[in-house]
């Protein structure tokens, strides 16, 4: 069959199926293939809350979206070009987000009476014309798979299980992705099970063959490699990058890494990732709850290790009393909050940025704490190192904020050369002569870190207010006032280390957009969209890694704009900090849809604000 190849700049594909359909696996293999194909990319898995919801239900649909491009790719995109729908529920829940005129590749075998009625389709949408606005390709994937894998000996349910690889093969072929990595993956994963190994490979190739031989798929696509800087790349999710960052920070500071945590979605995989690194000297403690997690991490810090605890919102609540203790005993500690939808148990598998105010203020007493936030999966690597640097240099617990999107989302990562990563100089105090538990470094205001086991530096720590310099328990009013100030000033002083803030977009604009955390991608792209459209409207953009203390130069920047907008995936939080600090009428653009902000919505908002701003002042 003759095949046409069309070149595209950027494509968004969404895989959707039952929880048991293996969509996450397909998605991540497709990501790897796209990465290897040299595209820039960004992914967003979208799990149901249930482990395995009953087959065919709407709430059991598991999705995986990827955008891969020739150009810079900062988000998984708003509207898929292509939807792979493995069953009616997947179609039903996802079709509305599809781009107008987009492609639907559906597994026709799954459109049984039962499956359709379960989700309320009275007639078969693959046949009743209801999808005529889309380009619909119905493929009997299951039967084709079962047929293809026969030669492996696999039958029935086991044979049907290979359908996801058929879909993967089909879509790889459609977008010209290489298969090698997937084949290697199959070989490694099913190493001990030759039948399954063979069957999955057969299914994969059957999918490719189908795509190459079917009329409806006669147009294939090509997406040229992105112009990434030279180097070795891999695709990486945020939790993995964060784990690698912690290991790197430990090595660069010469400290043993001790992670003490309690599993919680979407933070768990950091613990899992690090648990597999005993051979790199990492100790992970799975504790009985989040309180115990931070307690053990603090104990490890006291022992002279790099103590880290990872969790999500509900877990941070539980850690708050201990964070206060860490602040008053002034030990280094990294607290990672992988945010999810709240309040309460909320939407555990959806992303949100709604823990910021808690990080900032969620403890009793005056208890300021440094907060930094990662902007993308790979940035979590750098932020883990930076958090460690702050924690050890200033002897303080540090909050590192990410979220469900960063945690599970993936993007290409230019693998750094470890030698290029600066050391994190850490000195533990060993000289009894000069030791005073609360004698501070005059510049950083950090107190010395003398760890148990050091002869002659025996001392007592605790949660009661301490006397300046000696660290003895002290209830004197003036001392408490002094210590309150010193603790506060120490944190404020961290801003000295910051680089100058970068203004992206068009600096000379009326509108400044200030963002933090995982909204970076959407906001950047929306800003670019406005700046590159054919109107003369322009937008400036500052994205913050450092939330507390705020950068010293931010005030100057912010005050230079007529309008300031703060987009967040929460009900408006960071905007309060900015308004309080700079007395600027910053406006909140707040959306809590459990997913990254939509670029087009942001762009529209910027344009509409600019329309009302012109001429004002």
């Amino acid at each position: 069959m003759s095949q046409e190849t069309v070149e595209l700049d950027s494509v968004i594909v969404r895989f959707a199926g039952d929880s048991g359909d293996g969509m996450q696996l397909v998605g991540s293999q497709f990501s790897v293939a796209s990465a290897i194909a040299g595209n820039d990319l960004s992914t967003l898995p979208d799990y149901p809350a249930e482990i395995r919801a009953p087959a065919g239900t709407v709430y059991g649909v598991s999705g995986f979206q990827i955008q891969f491009s020739h150009g810079k790719t900062l988000t998984p995109g708003d509207h898929p070009d292509t939807l792979v729908a493995m069953n009616p529920a997947a179609l039903k829940t996802n079709v509305s987000t599809l781009k107008a005129g987009g492609t639907i590749i559906a597994n026709a075998d799954a459109f049984t009476e039962r499956n359709m009625s379960m989700v309320g389709y009275e007639t078969n949408p693959l046949e009743d014309g209801s999808l005529e606005d889309y380009s619909l390709i119905a493929v009997k994937m299951t039967s084709l798979t079962v047929e293809a894998v026969k030669e492996s000996g696999l039958k029935g349910k086991n044979a049907r299980r290979c359908t996801n690889f058929f879909a993967l093969g089909l879509i790889c072929s459609l977008y010209g992705r290489p298969l090698d990595a997937t084949e290697q993956f199959i070989d490694a994963k099913f190493a001990g099970k030759p039948e399954i190994q063979q069957a999955n490979t057969l299914a994969l190739n059957a999918g490719v063959a189908y795509a190459e031989s079917t009329e409806a798929l006669s147009v294939h696509y090509q997406i040229k490699p992105a112009e990434l800087d030279p180097g070795l790349y891999r695709s990486i999710e945020g939790n993995k990058a964060l784990a690698y960052g912690l290991v790197t920070a430990a090595e660069k500071s010469g400290l043993q890494l001790v992670l003490a945590s309690y599993p919680i979605t979407p933070a768990t995989s950091i613990l899992e990732e690090l648990a597999a690194l005993r051979h790199m000297g990492v100790k992970t403690l799975q504790m009985e709850d989040e309180i115990a997690g931070i307690g053990a991490a603090l104990g490890a810090s006291w022992a002279g290790s790099l103590g880290v605890t990872t969790t999500s919102g509900p877990g941070v609540c539980l850690k708050s009393e201990f964070i206060g203790l860490a602040l008053i005993v002034e030990l280094p500690l990294v607290i990672v909050d992988v945010q999810r939808g709240g309040p309460s148990t909320g939407l555990p598998t959806k992303t949100e940025q709604s823990d910021l105010m808690m990080a900032m203020y969620g403890r009793h007493g005056d208890s300021s704490i440094p907060i930094i936030a990662a902007k993308s999966p790979s940035d979590a690597f750098d932020c883990a190192i930076e958090a460690t640097r702050i924690a050890t240099k200033y002897m303080t617990p540090v909050f590192l904020m990410t979220d469900g999107y960063i945690a599970n989302g993936a993007e290409p990562w230019s693998i750094p050369n470890p030698k290029d990563i600066p050391e994190i100089p850490v000195v533990q105090h060993t000289d009894p002569e000069t030791f005073q538990p609360y004698k501070r470094d005059p510049l950083t205001l950090a107190r010395p870190w003398a760890v148990p086991g050091t002869p002659g530096c025996e001392h007592r720590l605790g949660g009661l207010e301490k006397e300046n310099i000696t660290g003895d328990v002290c209830t004197e009013p003036e001392n408490h006032a002094l210590m309150t100030k010193l603790r506060h000033d120490k944190v404020e002083g961290i801003a000295r280390d910051y680089p100058a803030q970068q203004i992206e977009g068009v600096a000379d604009s009326d509108l400044l957009v200030v963002s933090w955390g995982s909204t970076y991608g959407s906001v950047s792209q929306a800003v670019e969209a406005v700046n590159h459209d054919d109107t003369d409207k322009t937008v400036a953009h500052v994205h913050l890694r450092y939330i507390n203390p705020l950068p010293a130069d931010l005030g100057e920047i912010i005050k230079g704009y007529k309008k300031v907008i703060v987009p967040e995936v929460n009900n408006g939080q960071f905007v309060h900090i900015l308004r309080d600090k700079y007395l600027v009428d910053a406006q909140s653009f707040a959306r809590v849809y459990g997913r990254p902000l939509a670029i087009d919505e942001l762009r529209d908002e910027f344009i509409s604000v600019l329309s009302t701003t012109k001429g004002a002042k």
Partner: protein, 340 residues
């Protein structure tokens, strides 16, 4: 440079600040005995660490001149766990109270014992919240009238040793502030045991629960009301060891030794693997039974801290792909690509 442990004396641990417990508080006796045990362990001073929660008892670290951490209420076990797991070389003592360790901290104490960290937990049981000025605690007897139970507490009290055994503790003992010799000997036994030790100390709070243990600990009552546990010896008590404990089916009962015959008495064996025996002891209470004193149970299992250390060492020995470079690629180049 590490200090010489053989040169240590009590003085080395004596703090340069005043002890701030109420005059007459039982905590003084426990403090004094621990101070006499610490220098004898053969451990350099700087490796001895005391961790506590919050409560009168938990002020302990301030009163020992070594590394100390007065953490937050109920959570000392977590800090101690992280400390010991990070550095198994430290010698860790955890001081807690019936409120700190069994009420708010009940779960952490339990998991520390279960995991078998090599940590000695000393629980000061005065059956009251001392520091907050006298509310009933989880160990207070039913009916106790306190500020928060003016009509009498309606709660079934916890038995700390039963709890510890149920949690899986391998070393469980009871002693009292009123018998310094026994107290010291018990601390020494714990110091010598590798693994988590749980020691309940019956402690008198002169201010808010004075005499709570006097039926057990008063000099003139001890013989009849205490069952002093000695490995290998029959369970006897009384002025002249004239009373003993026997089993009737599985129901323990107090018998007259001369009638029952010493050979028919239960013999104390703290090393029984099954917890039935130690649990039985932990349930003994006045007036039906004498209160057991000593080591209920002492069995050996490898410690959590040594195992985590060992996993690290084994993993290091078995795998050479431990550079950051290798880490970054996920220990395989399969999923990487080069941009030129």
């Amino acid at each position: 440079m590490s200090t010489d442990p053989s040169a240590l004396t009590r003085k080395d641990f004596t703090p340069n600040q005043d002890l701030r417990w109420c005059p007459g508080c039982g905590d003084y006796s426990i403090h004094s005995m621990l101070l006499s045990v610490l220098p004898t362990m053969g451990v350099p001073k700087e490796k001895i660490v005391i961790v506590s929660g919050i409560g009168c008892s938990s002020r302990f670290p301030y009163y020992v001149d070594t590394y100390g951490f007065h953490t937050i209420h109920g959570r000392a076990a977590t800090v101690a766990t992280g400390l010991k797991a990070a550095n198994p070389d430290l010698n860790v003592w955890l001081i807690t109270g019936d409120g700190d360790g069994l009420s708010i901290g009940g779960n952490h104490t339990l998991h520390l014992l279960r995991r078998n960290l090599d940590i000695n937990v000393i629980l000061f049981n005065n059956e009251i919240y001392g520091l907050t000025k006298g509310q009933y605690s989880p160990t207070s007897t039913k009916g106790l009238k306190t500020k928060t139970s003016p009509m009498g507490s309606i709660e079934q009290p916890m038995r700390p040793c039963a709890y510890a055994i149920g949690a899986g503790a391998n070393f469980v003992a009871r002693t009292t502030d009123k018998n310094p010799k026994h107290l010291k000997a018990t601390l020494e036994r714990a110091a010598g045991h590798s693994g988590a030790c749980f020691i309940e100390v019956l402690q008198n709070c002169v201010i808010f629960n004075d005499g709570v243990h006097s039926e057990v600990t008063d000099k003139d009552k001890a013989a009849n009301n205490q069952l002093v546990l000695k490995a290998g010896e029959p369970l006897c008590f009384g002025e002249n060891n004239e009373k003993g404990i026997m089993l009737d089916g599985f129901d323990p009962k107090v018998v007259d030794v001369s009638q029952a015959g010493e050979d028919n008495l239960l013999r104390h064996d703290p090393t029984i693997e099954d917890i039935g025996y130690a649990s039985m002891l932990s349930h003994f209470s006045l007036p039906d039974f004498p209160v057991p004193m000593g080591v209920f149970r002492q069995t050996d299992t490898v410690t959590y801290d040594s195992m985590i250390q060992q996993q690290v060492e084994v993993a290091k020995a078995n795998r050479s792909d431990n550079s950051l470079e290798e880490l970054y690629t996920g220990f395989s180049k399969a999923s990487t690509w080069e941009v030129e």
